[in-house]
């Protein structure tokens, strides 16, 4: 039988506000345990939550960017559960009237274009961190993350492959980064994804029993977990067994999913309207002003880069896929670097370094000013391309100043015609055999001679000038 995998995603994104959703405590990452806390976010009796204006703005902006209908009359609800990561014993979330609904996101995979429908997007608060201390056999609670604003974005079960899921997540990440509403760092947990997955015979209209996978900390883990879980479910069904609806935890080291305690699966949240927060009404003027402030997104920018800067479609696509690259590129160009040159350096030498170092563009130390300076030195004929690549590699890790580096290592190009001619004469004299081969019509040996002259000049000459000087001398 041919099986079809059906996947839906629930993505939690931490918003990049300065303060928490219901109190004025800092959202800064790190910090000693329980130092970003107050009576509100530690759930002390008698405290009242007050909504952070920025959270509503960010959530509405994200909803608009995901082509959602924005709910004009918003309310919050209480989701009740006893677990010490939430000291109030309930999470303030939105169940009945989420801020955004019915959106869609176009994605592109090797299989073609596709639209993923967004079921809803709602605002809620994050929970604290629990660490079990085996020494005292007790759990320690750190509430610094408690009350950090989140949006949860729920898709319809529209995915059929891991590739589609990754394409969607990359698109979502890029969109949220463009908006500046989140830094989307998976390692720090500011973008977290739960995967709902079921399988069914191809062509079937009804859904199979689904499982929910948690603890997916990277795109790679998500992709592997989807493939593993689909195979596991298909094997069960083919053996005549059934899939149990449950939450499963992905173990990155064991490369498998494991059932979580069934206690956590049997949940009854008894939602009810949050009485401490009055409704939020979003006016048409407010939404219009948000629409007007919406930044230029990836597609629009990609087209503009092709049109204005003459970048090839592929290059423009590569740069606009990540907001960090867009910022770097635009700043480099603003500092006078020709756009095509800037793009070539970024997609060539820079991407190679990032890949080798397994680094994200936003974590890199190299600045646009330094790359612009390097490009300028080539344009001025002060270093050649080979040297520039060496310099790039050397300054990349710590953003050492390229001008200083070139000066201190004596890498400036020899532009003195006399020095080049002297080197040419020396090489011709030392290689009479090759010279006569060249004169006998064996043009290919010129490359060898160019190499010898460059060696004489310690690689610091302009290969074009060397080439010309050699040809002239061999005439």
């Amino acid at each position: 039988m041919t099986w079809e995998t059906v996947i839906g995603l629930e993505t939690h994104v931490e918003l990049a506000t300065r303060t928490k959703i219901f109190c004025s405590c800092s959202t800064a990452f790190g910090g000693a345990p329980n130092t970003h806390c107050c009576p509100v976010c530690t759930g002390m009796p008698g405290t009242l939550p007050v909504v952070n204006r920025k959270v509503v703005e960010f959530a509405a902006q994200a909803g608009l960017a995901l082509n959602c209908e924005i709910t004009r009359y918003n309310k919050f609800d209480r989701k009740n559960y006893f677990y010490p990561d939430l000291p109030k014993a309930y999470q303030i979330s939105q169940l009945y009237l989420p801020i955004a609904r019915n959106g869609h996101v176009p994605i592109v995979t090797e299989a073609g274009e596709k639209e993923i429908r967004i079921h809803e997007l709602h605002m809620e608060e994050d929970a604290g961190k629990l660490v079990h201390d085996p020494w005292i056999d007790q759990t320690r609670c750190d509430y610094n993350r408690c009350g950090v604003p989140l949006i949860e974005i729920v898709t319809e079960p529209d995915f059929r492959t891991a590739d589609e899921v990754i394409a969607y997540l990359e698109k979502l990440k890029s969109t949220l980064e463009y908006l500046g509403v989140s830094d989307c760092k998976m390692q720090e947990g500011s973008l977290r994804c739960d995967v709902n997955l079921s399988v069914r015979p191809l062509g079937s209209e009804t859904f199979g029993t689904r499982t929910e996978m948690k603890n997916l900390n990277s795109f790679k883990a998500i992709s592997r977990a989807i493939k593993y879980e689909a195979r596991r479910q298909i094997e069960l069904l083919e053996e005549g067994k059934r899939v149990i609806q449950e939450t499963r935890r992905w173990d990155d080291n064991k490369d498998a999913t494991f059932s979580m305690r069934s206690k956590e699966n049997a949940q009854d949240y008894r939602y009810f309207p949050e009485p401490d927060i009055p409704p939020l009404e979003l006016s048409e003027e407010y939404l219009t002003s948000l629409r007007e402030r919406q930044p230029e997104m990836a597609e629009a920018r990609r087209e503009r880069y092709q049109r204005e800067y003459g970048l090839p479609a592929y290059d423009a696509g590569q740069i606009t896929a990540q907001k960090a690259l867009v910022d770097f590129f635009e700043e480099t160009v603003a500092l006078g670097a020709p756009p095509k040159e800037a793009a070539n350096w970024m997609l060539g030498d820079m991407m190679r370094r990032l890949k080798d170092e397994e680094m994200e563009p936003k974590d890199m130390k190299l600045t646009p000013a330094n790359l612009a300076a390097l490009i300028r030195m080539i344009a001025q004929g002060r270093i050649n391309r080979n040297t520039a690549s060496r310099v790039f590699r050397a300054v990349f890790p710590d953003n050492a100043d390229v001008e200083t580096y070139v000066r201190e290592h004596g890498l400036e190009q020899v532009n003195d015609a006399g020095a080049v001619e002297a080197a040419v004469a020396k090489v011709l004299e030392a290689n009479p055999q090759t010279v006569s081969e060249y004169r006998a019509g064996k043009q290919k040996v010129l490359g060898f001679l160019v190499g010898q002259v460059m060696k004489q000049l310690k690689g610091k000459a302009d290969p074009k000038a060397v080439n010309a000087a050699l040809r002239a001398a061999l005439q």
């Binding site: 506000t17 300065r18 303060t19 004025s24 405590c25 800092s26 000693a32 345990p33 329980n34 130092t35 970003h36 806390c37 107050c38 009576p39 530690t42 002390m44 007050v50 909504v51 952070n52 204006r53 920025k54 959270v55 509503v56 309310k75 009740n80 006893f82 677990y83 010490p84 990561d85 000291p87 629990l130 660490v131 079990h132 005292i136 056999d137 007790q138 759990t139 320690r140 609670c141 750190d142 509430y143 009854d268 008894r270 309207p273 949050e274 009485p275 927060i277 009055p278 409704p279 939020l280 009404e281």
Partner: protein, 95 residues
């Protein structure tokens, strides 16, 4: 609606309450009375009435996104039944 002992057990688990047997008995009756009163309310036609979630006619109570100093940790931890130097302590909750 008939309230069974199993239902009372389920609700007390959700509320983290340990009810003695005789109280469970009393609870079934009390909860049945409460639901019976809901049935009385349900006889009213509310099809034209917006559900109310807030008593006061206030909207859009928001604050600016400006950091204020957090609370003194020592003061916060003082409220905890169990604590150490920097954290609240609870019975084992994670593996």
């Amino acid at each position: 609606m008939k309230i069974t002992t199993e239902m009372v057990d389920y609700i007390s688990v959700l509320s983290r309450l340990k009810l003695p047997e005789e109280e469970k008995e009393r609870m079934t009756g009390e909860l049945e009375n409460i639901l019976a009163y809901m049935d009385v309310l349900n006889t009213l036609d509310t099809s034209q009435v917006e559900p109310m979630s807030h008593v006061f006619p206030i909207r859009n109570v928001v604050r600016e996104d400006e950091v204020a100093p957090s609370f003194d940790r020592e003061q916060l931890l003082k409220n905890a039944p169990q604590r150490d130097q920097e954290a609240f302590l609870v019975p084992k909750a994670v593996e």
